[in-house]
């Protein structure tokens, strides 16, 4: 049974410099029916957002032009968009910084894809609900 398609397909921007990780995320989120865009580093992410604002950004931190201030920069060009951060073995301080900079959710790699998917779905629903 098809989902009620009276909502536009969500546009998700995936920012990750590791190729395999990027493939994994794309494979997983493709199946969810999202429209996916990919970026390999902070600069590409920035450009992608400038071109068209996504409905959700799923991003790593540790990559070229990345880091925690990269989140603040993203926020300036994507003020309403939910940002989900996944990063390897970050610590409590990093988490606090990232959330303060504007991240909507934070996950430590390795993260269960199932958990990630749930979070993304929730955020998108909430967002779409807010837009209506």
């Amino acid at each position: 049974m098809a989902l009620v398609e009276n909502r536009t397909t969500a546009r998700v921007l995936i920012v990750e410099d590791d190729r395999e990780m990027r493939n994994l995320l794309c494979d997983e989120f493709c199946g969810m029916g999202y429209q996916l865009r990919e970026a390999r580093n902070g600069d590409e992410a920035f450009l992608a957002v400038l071109q068209s604002e996504p409905d959700l950004i799923l991003t790593d931190l540790r990559m070229p032009a990345g880091g925690d201030d990269y989140i603040s920069r993203l926020r300036t060009v994507a003020p309403k968009c939910p940002i989900v951060v996944i990063t390897a073995f970050g610590d409590a301080t990093l988490k606090a910084q990232v959330v303060k900079a504007g991240a909507s959710a934070y996950f430590d790699k390795p993260v269960r894809i199932a958990d990630l998917k749930n979070c993304v779905q929730q955020l998108l629903d909430h967002q779409q609900g807010a837009e209506r």
Binding site: D18, M21, R62, I86, A88, F89, P110, R112
Partner: protein
């Protein structure tokens, strides 16, 4: 009458020749003696019994700046400084009676002369006397020792200077001659924990060193004595007279003086420096590890996520049980690695503890509460013996919680069939003592010394990370405390933690 005249005439003739010869000989003899006296380098003054000068040689003229003509007939006093005159009189008296020649004119110490211009100068004098025709004559032979005294003084000053340098030298200095210590400066005495030089002198240098290093020291000494001028600086261990162990930097140099070959040994206590270096190394290592760990975290975390993710992906798309089981194993193992990484990283990333005055009782109560349910399930009886009031410790609450949780958890795991857990808290001198005792399976003696080793675990494969006690020990030591364990297989284990009291 004639004969007598004739005799006297003939007598006179021969006698005259004899007398002439005799007179000539006497003259020659006199001239020779005068020559000797006048040519002497030392001043020669002869005085009669009345202390008036009867002989004053050329050297005396030069020494006293006074001509013979002016000197003859003068009292000897005139050539002595006023301060010496009285003593001189007594000396002459005594001397006259004893007849002994002494180098000094009496026990005045140094003797001085008085030049015509009024200048006093040091002299060395020898005095003798002679009696001629009932008259006593005293002869003084004098040497102006101004120069000699000056040279002696300069030498003494120079020696003083060098002695002072050696005394104030921050280096401990020893001199080894014939394999015996013959000199030790103040620093050396202090270094070896002695109070007096005698405690070190006469010892064989090698004996001053720690048993471990004695052979090396002996070999170096031999090398030096056999002709090598210097041996390179080495770091060696010494054991002081009061039982401490210190590390020293030693250098040895061979030298030769009038008494033969000897070795100059210089030592410097580098124990403090070594300790600081060790501490620095450890701090650097921890910092390095921290950086390394963070870098590693990323390099490991992402591939791990890929493995985990792909396993999950496949899990969703297969139905065969065996395949699903295999994939589940992959997932479980990745989660296990994650746990280890997390513990390792938290250990390596730990910040210096934020120590505040802390009431341990509260921390203990909170930690115990976390385990309430599990303790009940495992049928473990809990006994708390906490001193009331108990002094506060200076500690970081989070880190101490971590310690407690770890120790309580271990106790719990040791008593799967039940038992008793005793928690004690009491002051002990300047520390607060925390004890955690269980009646579990205990730790075998061959294992007990390894329990703090990183990655060492006695738990079943996959159950423990082996880092728990390593972190606990690290935290306690950073708090300037200590941890000790006692265990008996089959009876139980007790951990004793000491933490400094807050002032």
């Amino acid at each position: 009458m004639e004969r007598r005249e004739a005799q006297s005439t003939s007598d006179t003739g021969d006698a005259r020749v004899d007398r002439h010869k005799g007179e000539q000989q006497l003259l020659v003899s006199q001239l020779r003696l005068e020559g000797i006296v006048e040519s002497a380098m030392d001043a020669i003054i002869t005085v009669a019994e009345d202390q008036r000068v009867v002989l004053f040689n050329r050297a005396a003229e030069r020494m006293f700046g006074c001509s013979i003509e002016d000197a003859i007939g003068q009292p000897l006093d005139r050539f002595l400084p006023v301060s010496f005159r009285e003593a001189h009189h007594h000396q002459v008296q005594d001397f006259g009676h004893s007849g002994v020649t002494s180098r000094k004119m009496g026990r005045l110490g140094s003797v001085s002369g008085l030049r015509a211009g009024g200048e006093e100068f040091p002299i060395e004098a020898a005095i003798s006397h002679i009696v001629v025709e009932g008259q006593t004559y005293y002869t003084v032979i004098l040497r102006d020792i101004t120069e000699r005294k000056r040279a002696e003084r300069l030498l003494r000053q120079s020696e003083e200077r060098y002695r002072r340098l050696i005394a104030i030298s921050p280096y401990a200095i020893l001199v080894n001659r014939g394999n015996r210590i013959i000199f030790a400066n103040d620093q050396a005495i202090k270094l070896f924990g002695a109070v007096k030089a005698e405690e070190i002198l006469e010892k064989s240098p090698a004996d001053l060193f720690h048993a471990d290093d004695q052979d090396i020291v002996r070999r170096r000494i031999d090398e030096l004595f056999e002709g090598g001028a210097q041996v390179p600086v080495l770091e060696e261990k010494i054991e002081t007279l009061d039982g401490r162990i210190a590390y020293v930097e030693v250098s040895g140099t061979r030298f030769v003086d009038e008494e033969g070959p000897a070795i100059l040994i210089m030592l410097r206590d580098v124990s403090e420096r070594k300790r600081l270096q060790e501490q620095l190394r450890r701090t650097e290592r921890v910092a390095e590890l921290g950086t390394l760990a963070s870098g590693m975290a990323h390099e490991i975390g992402t591939p791990m996520n890929v493995i985990l993710g792909r396993a999950e992906y496949l899990m969703d798309r297969v139905t065969e049980e065996p395949i699903k089981k295999g994939l589940q194993t992959i997932i479980t193992q990745v989660e296990r690695i994650t746990r280890v990484m997390n513990q390792l990283l938290s250990f390596v990333r730990r910040k210096a503890p934020q120590r505040v005055p802390l009431d341990l009782r509260k921390v203990i109560e909170d930690s115990m509460e976390m385990f309430q349910e599990r303790l009940a399930t495992n049928q473990i009886l809990v006994e708390m013996e906490m001193a009331d009031p108990c002094p506060m410790v200076l500690a970081d609450a989070d880190q101490i919680s971590h310690v407690l949780i770890n120790l309580i958890m271990n106790a719990l795991h040791a008593m799967p069939e039940g038992g008793t857990l005793r928690v004690g808290l009491a002051p002990e001198q300047a520390m607060v003592k925390l004890t955690i005792v269980d009646t579990g399976h205990g730790i075998p003696s061959e294992v007990i010394k390894k329990i703090y080793d990183p990655f060492f675990t006695t738990k079943e494969f996959g159950k423990g990370t082996g880092l728990g006690l390593t972190v606990v020990k690290g935290i306690i030591e950073e708090h300037q405390g200590s941890i000790a364990v006692e265990s008996k297989e089959g009876s139980g284990t007790s951990f004793t933690v000491l933490l400094p009291m807050s002032q």
